[in-house]
Symmetry: C2
């Protein structure tokens, strides 16, 4: 079963941050905030994603958190304020 | 029932961002990343928090997302890399 998977990151290094963003886009996630991506993943896709992120980070100063959201959690999501657009930024990345 | 509530934000304005961080700390949430807070909230505490955030943001350029995490979602959370510390930053805020 696919679960919407939310990935949030805190990565001070510009180069690593870009590489992580690119990697998340390549796995089919969409940017929902400057430092947050989300998209549906099966359990095995999520495991692969987590391994890939661990390889990218490998001992560097960064923190990434991955939250598989149950349908009940995702349905209760509330978005406040404007939806900021990152399309142009992400077009340049891919 | 209390649910761990995850709040992530994207707020370009420094002053508004600080006020939102202060507000989230005052409601008992803890910083889990530079732009992410989490903590247990009842449904009515969460509604109050959302109203408070809407008042703070009120038409300004900002996006805040609130995710109530079911215990199943929260238990599957994965943290990659180092835990960055924000204690000093938050001590100055409160």
């Amino acid at each position: 079963m696919e679960l919407i998977t939310l990935v949030i990151y805190d990565i001070p290094d510009d180069d690593l941050r870009l590489r992580v963003a690119k990697y998340l886009l390549s796995k089919g996630l969409k940017r929902v905030q400057k430092s947050a991506f989300a998209g549906p993943l099966t359990s095995s896709q999520r495991s692969e994603l987590i391994s890939g992120l661990r390889r990218l980070v490998a001992g560097r100063r960064a923190n990434i958190q991955v939250y598989p959201l149950t349908p009940a959690s995702y349905a209760q999501r509330v978005s406040i304020g404007v939806e900021l657009s990152y399309e142009e930024e992400d077009r340049l990345l891919t």
